[in-house]
Amino acid sequence: MIIQAQNVSYIYSEGGPFEKGALKDVSMTVESGAFIGIIGHTGSGKSTLVQHFNGLLRPTGGKVIVCGADTLDKKADLKTVRAKVGLVFQYPEHQLFAETVYKDIAFAPGNMGFSADETDAAVRESAALVGLSETLFEKSPFELSGGQKRRAAIAGVLAMRPQVLVLDEPTAGLDPRGREDILSQIKRLHAETGMTVILVSHGMEDIANCVDYLYVMDHGTIAMQGTPAEVYSRYERLEQMGLTAPQVTRLMKQRYGVDVCTVEQAKDYILGVLRRA
């Protein structure tokens, strides 16, 4: 396994008036090459949890082991951990700063001590992975469109050549077309490179047809886990947590009593039923 969280708790501003428990006794194991989804309502602790995966936050209770390194260990090299686990924040385009797209993507590999040639190769490779044309390299990142900015920002993290890619709500604020584009790009990335991917979302449909395994977070704990079909089949429970299952899941459950989570699966099932009839 590549990331392991053992009974992790985290409390914000411990001792102050705004003390807030964000995580309570969370345990989770991520195997190398997996495609994992974490869903939960706003404030359920999912963003706090993923910041533990690259040592940006350290647990106030329990421990997190990333690629064999305990992030609480004073001697642990957090920079290496951060290079191994690339974390793409919510609205990552807000972190763009350099004069050109190329320089912005090259920021991370430069920090990680890549040579000039390695950096150049990494920039081109990661831009290709997110579908960002090289003709944009010399433009200012602030001239790009919303979707392009987001791709550039994701490329900026991929350029470190991480073993794990964590994306916190990568589709937030995009239109349906942009959302579809980014998600299919991520899926392709996982399929082509075999990179471990952790996708954080509150949108249900988004995640259903990508991930192998799903964790549902509620009030700082893991409320449910399983394959998407398993999780979505208990949609009454999801609704209690303020989440919704994909519409197609509800429909198929009510109409046919089967668990599916994508339109594709529903189509196959209905075609099967019709063929038999």
Partner: protein
């Protein structure tokens, strides 16, 4: 990490101190300041210190939290103390080169130390017990007489409340961008001064851009709600000076009298 600064924060509560009128509290803070500066003898300082402890207790703000507010000032306080200790002329106790320790210096250093600590503790209670909105409202009412002389009091107060309103937002934003850049291997903590200053570029550029974007959005939102500045604006809740405020005024006047008296006696 940036959220750990407690000085100047608002500590929500419902103590008698929280309920006092903001304008009155600002005036009382000035009375307290004058009391600290008037105090000359140990007895007078003791009186002010005891008073400070009592009002902190009344405010319901935990001592730990108030004392934490001194933390950013520790270096400044220590520097002042050392400077006073070594640079005051008088009866010499110990001398080394141009540095000399005198009785007068020691006494002065202790006095300055007490003065700064009391000043910070006492005045920080104003922001701990008054929400930023109430505070700017209080300032606006205090400045009202100057409005007749052409000072745009409402605009000044509005700018202040907007600035205060955005402090936590910008801190949060800074924290977020810092983390995002650290996730890309940025290092804000090591290296020499030049290297550290350069490391701030990836933080400052996105921060400025987002601040400008927020300002534009806020201006549009205010325009949409037909905001047009000070004249003809009415308030939803009109603040009133109550009996409790007058009573608090008497208490602070009492403190001032006590300090003057203690100066004479001790």
């Amino acid at each position: 990490m940036l959220k750990d600064i407690t000085l100047g924060q608002y500590f929500p509560g419902n103590s008698p101190l929280h309920r006092l009128d903001a304008m009155v509290k600002i005036v009382l803070t000035f009375v307290f300041l004058s009391a600290v500066f008037t105090a000359k003898t140990a007895l007078a300082y003791a009186a002010v210190a005891a008073f400070t402890v009592v009002i902190i207790m009344i405010s319901g703000v935990p001592f730990k939290f108030v004392v934490k507010g001194l933390k950013p000032l520790v270096a400044f306080i220590a520097f002042t103390a050392v400077l006073n200790l070594l640079m005051t002329s008088g009866t010499v106790i110990w001398q080394w080169g141009f540095l000399r320790l005198t009785y007068e210096g020691a006494a002065y250093a202790v006095q300055m130390l007490a003065r700064i600590v009391l000043l910070v503790l006492g005045t920080s209670l104003l922001t701990y017990t008054t929400s930023p909105i109430a505070l700017t409202d209080g300032i606006e009412r205090l400045l009202k007489p100057f409005g007749k002389m052409g000072l745009p009091t409402h605009e000044l107060a509005m700018m202040m409340s907007i600035a205060l309103r955005f402090v936590p937002t910008l801190l949060e934003e800074t924290d977020k961008i810092m983390k995002a850049q650290m996730a890309r291997g940025a290092d804000f903590q090591s290296g020499n001064l030049l290297k550290r200053a350069k490391a701030l570029i990836p933080l400052l550029v996105p921060l400025f851009i987002s601040a400008i974007r927020r300002a534009e959005e806020l201006a549009t939102a205010m325009d949409c709600r037909c905001y047009r500045g000070g004249n003809h604006r009415t308030r939803l809740s009109e603040a009133k000076v109550t009996a409790a405020d007058y009573a608090a005024g008497c208490v602070f006047a009492g403190l001032m009298t006590l300090v003057i008296f203690a100066n004479k006696v001790g």
